[in-house]
């Protein structure tokens, strides 16, 4: 890595790499060296920052043996945390699927005032710190919040309960589906929908037979990203959860709490979380590999 950042070599290597993009035929040896150096640099960064730490988690989780690992993840609190994480994701992701489709459809098929504002609002959760997002929910739905007394009077608990967790997760993962669909729908235009309309199709028929099949892979891709983030979300959920072990602790929160008491048990739980994310990434990779064209082209 040090060699790539070395100014004497790095500058020349970059130039050579740029040149290699334009040149045709057999590249000069300096270009070939530049390629190898850049590739090695990228791999080194990945190895040190990603692969090694990921392996470390699994190593740490199994340090005290297989039996201990099983014990750690079979603790009722951890199992409850896994179940809660799945529950939250199972509610939040479909909500964002519907929201993302509706937002992308209106952004690309209608002209209306405040369209730019809607676009900016969809992106907002990406730029707001999740902790701040959690605080915002407390301010509105908390005990002393704007809706707090009304909610209490009706016996509804949002903060420190499942609804709060779902709200926080929905908020943080709001952009994923919409952001995946908008560029694709924009590129596709609405001619096919118009064709379907003149052929006599109703709104729902157009949606299910024309629009949805065309964006299905991008939609799945967005849902997977959304799901990975929903299961891994920490900041916003941390603020609204209340950390009641076995009740309002999601898996990331459980990892955090265990970490302060029992090192190895924490890593066992963390390995579970990492595994969930790896599976999601694996599916995403398969989708990209099998249907990469459908994600990008106009068809």
């Amino acid at each position: 890595m040090a060699t790539a950042l070395d100014p004497a070599l790095g500058g020349g290597a970059l130039m050579a790499a740029v040149a290699s993009v334009v040149s045709i035929g057999q590249p000069a040896w300096s270009v070939r060296i530049a390629r190898v150096v850049l590739l090695l640099a990228a791999l080194a960064v990945l190895a040190w920052l990603l692969v090694l730490p990921l392996l470390a988690i699994f190593a740490e989780a199994f340090r005290q043996g297989y039996a201990f690992y099983l014990d750690a993840i079979k603790q009722p609190d951890t199992i409850a945390a896994v179940r809660l994480t799945f529950t939250v994701a199972a509610i939040a992701v479909p909500l964002n699927l519907v929201f993302g489709l509706a937002a992308a459809w209106s952004m690309t098929h209608f002209e209306f005032r405040g369209k730019a504002l809607l676009g900016a609002l969809i992106d907002l959760p990406f730029s707001i710190s999740p902790v701040v997002a959690g605080m915002m929910l407390i301010l509105v739905y908390g005990k002393d919040g704007w809706l707090g007394s009304w909610l209490e009077a009706h016996g509804l608990q949002v903060i420190f309960a499942l609804p709060g967790l779902v709200l926080a997760t929905v908020l943080v993962t709001l952009p994923f589906v919409a952001r995946e669909l908008i560029p694709l729908m924009q590129a596709q235009g609405s001619e096919q929908e118009e064709a379907a309309l003149t052929l006599g199709a109703s709104g729902w028929q157009i949606f299910f037979r024309v629009t949805l099949p065309r964006v299905r892979w991008a939609l799945l891709y967005g849902v997977l990203l959304c799901n990975a983030r929903a299961m891994g979300e920490f900041g916003a959920v941390y603020v609204v959860s209340g950390h009641l072990r076995g009740i309002t602790n999601t898996l990331p929160l459980q990892v955090d709490q265990l970490y302060q008491e029992n090192f190895s048990a924490a890593f066992a739980a963390a390995s579970l979380l990492a595994l969930l994310t790896l599976v999601t990434l694996g599916i995403k990779r398969v989708v990209e590999w099998r249907h990469g064209d459908a994600l990008n082209t106009h068809l």
Binding site: A195, L197, T198, L199, G200, A201
Partner: protein
């Protein structure tokens, strides 16, 4: 009866897409709407299809208010320039779409749909392609699938939006002839939009020339070529080129020549426009009383010769077009100065708002002289 379009107006912000457009299309007629981009022709098509609503005006089909029906129930077949086929459906599924989405009471039985699709595919000469996907077809084939799909709902009006715009030249010419024959055999009222003069003139029974949201002229291809109603129609259809000229009394003065005009009353005209077509510029016999012109360059295009001519009082070169056989009788080459005769001139008088006050076609008398008297020219191989 057919379609009666009355005083349609459509405005997008400050841009007027359709300005007081009225048009009647006869039953079974094939009408082309011809105009440059931005002339409003696509707006007209979208309003007829129900994809857009006019700000004012009405459209009736056999006495029935078409604008009151939404696009779903209009029974209008629309074929898009870029086909807009459903890529995830096979050819057969595409064609069957309009029948399959019908409410179940009106939906034909599966076997009937299948037979109908087969019949349509045979009509558009795509038998054996039923199970292919659009991405496996050529542009011309896709366009015919789009046509079959639009015809499946048995529309009473067929709209074609630049149907050949995305095809290459050879396919375009073939498909053009095919579509004209196909229309004859079906007899369905058809409106088709194009910016290509050749296409419009070759295919349509009548041509509607549009410019800036207005109809400039409606007529048969022959009428529009022979008697352009406006300077725009003359420029756009017949490639009319304006000449410096003026009208004094009953005489037209161009290039120092004066010709008498009959029945041309334009005493208070704001502007006089004189147009000549490329094919109405003839090479004159040597030492005649024609207009002096310098041959700037010559292009030989399969049977015709296109020449750029420099004439006095006109900054841009004048374009002329001759038959290759006529041209071969003259011994001129690029750079030479030749004499030209103007065989026909169209004179327009317009008022301050650009409305036509008078129009006349002048045939200068010298043009009736035999033209080709020069020696036969040898072309070295």
């Amino acid at each position: 009866m057919g379609i009666e379009i009355y005083r349609l107006r459509r405005q997008y912000g400050a841009f007027v897409a359709l300005d007081d457009v009225s048009l009647t299309i006869g039953d079974g007629e094939f009408v082309a709407v011809l105009g440059p981009s931005g002339s409003g022709k696509t707006s007209l098509l979208r309003i007829l299809a129900g994809l857009d609503q006019p700000d004012a005006g009405s459209v009736y089909r056999d006495g029935q208010d078409l604008l009151a029906l939404d696009a779903r129930r209009r029974g209008v077949g629309l074929v898009f320039q870029h086909y807009a086929l459903f890529p995830h459906m096979t050819v057969a599924q595409n064609v069957a779409f309009g029948l399959r989405v019908r409410p179940w009471r009106l939906r034909p039985k599966a076997a009937v749909i299948k037979a109908g699709v087969e019949h349509l595919l045979r009509q558009v000469e795509l038998e054996g392609f039923a199970d292919r996907y659009p991405s496996q077809l050529s542009g011309g084939q896709r366009q015919r699938v789009a046509l079959a799909r639009a015809l499946a709902i048995e529309p009473r009006l067929l709209l074609l939006d630049e149907p050949f715009g995305a095809l290459d030249a050879q396919v375009r010419v073939n498909l053009r002839r095919w579509l004209r024959e196909f229309h004859r055999s079906l007899g369905i009222t058809t409106l088709f939009v194009t910016h290509d003069q050749d296409e419009a003139l070759e295919m349509a029974d009548r041509v509607v020339v549009m410019n800036r949201g207005r109809i400039e002229q409606i007529g048969t291809p022959e009428q529009i070529y022979r008697q352009p109603a406006t300077p725009f129609a003359s420029r756009f259809i017949a490639r009319g080129q304006s000449l410096p000229g003026e009208v004094r009394g009953q005489h037209l003065h161009v290039f120092g020549h004066a010709w008498r005009m009959e029945n041309f009353v334009a005493d208070d005209a704001h502007e006089i426009t004189v147009h000549v077509r490329p094919e109405d510029i003839a090479l004159a016999p040597v030492q005649s009383d024609g207009v002096k012109a310098q041959l700037l360059n010559l292009r030989h295009v399969a049977g015709t010769v296109r020449a750029s001519l420099r004439v006095e009082n006109r900054e841009e070169p004048l374009e002329a077009e001759w038959n290759e056989r006529d041209w071969a009788r003259h011994a001129a080459t690029a750079g030479d100065t030749v004499d030209i005769h103007l065989l026909a001139l169209t004179v327009f008088a317009t008022d301050e708002e650009g409305r036509i006050q008078a129009r006349s076609t002048v045939h200068p008398p010298h043009a009736s002289f035999p033209v080709a008297v020069g020696p036969w020219r040898r072309v070295e191989a």
